[in-house]
Symmetry: C2
Subunit: 155 residues, 2 copies
Amino acid sequence: MPQTHEKEKEHCLEDFSIGQKICTNPITMSKENIIAFANLYDPQDFHLDDERAKHTSVGTLIASGWHTACTAMRLLVTNFPKIKGGMLGRSVEKMEWPIAVYPGDTVKLTIEVIDLRPSNSKPDRGVMRTRNILRNQNDEVVLSMETVIILPRRV
Amino acid sequence: MPQTHEKEKEHCLEDFSIGQKICTNPITMSKENIIAFANLYDPQDFHLDDERAKHTSVGTLIASGWHTACTAMRLLVTNFPKIKGGMLGRSVEKMEWPIAVYPGDTVKLTIEVIDLRPSNSKPDRGVMRTRNILRNQNDEVVLSMETVIILPRRV
């Protein structure tokens, strides 16, 4: 029988440890995708069109902060060890965008497990808190956030 | 000259007041859009496919929490008074998803201004904090979050 690849193993709370760190593959945010996202979810001039962006407080086309956050989510889902039953977020805290993402920027995510806690009321599950930092090609932080994820215990 | 519509006036910090509340129009989250979003940003079985969702911890197709958050952002941008220069988020806090959004659910957003503060260091701008609550057709809360928005002062 072929060996199960680490990414395909289904992980429970007991399989993680505080301090564990994962760095994802990079992803480039194209102008086309920035505009397509903005049309659907954040239709503002500085996310939609080069010319119209010139007349805004930003002055140039930048990605919606929500597009940046969703790109971080994609990197998290596709790079983090697979959680048994799926990765379900309970909450997000302290989401900040220190600087903008520009068309063509390449970003990658660092995910650090900063807390692991069995549920007090439900013995079959627990929560994991991760600190997520998204950096651009110049190693500048473009997004930081903490996510609280519900995951099963190995019972 | 035709009168400027309220939505087209460009608002500064001085045009808002703490306690001000806006309720947006509703929007329906279709199965097609839920799956399209998930394919791009949250590719997990319970967001992608009815059949595959049955074998997850959720058991049925639900919208990605990030899709729900981006839908709230769309409602915020398209219903809130236009801010001079554009609406730029500095941070989001306490984003929570108390219950899931299912295909066909209709959601609407209540936005309340809970703080307004001139910047200490930059006299031409300030920050506004809003509490945003997204409810479904049964008046259940599906998302809550606080956003901190940078906006100009009338100087």
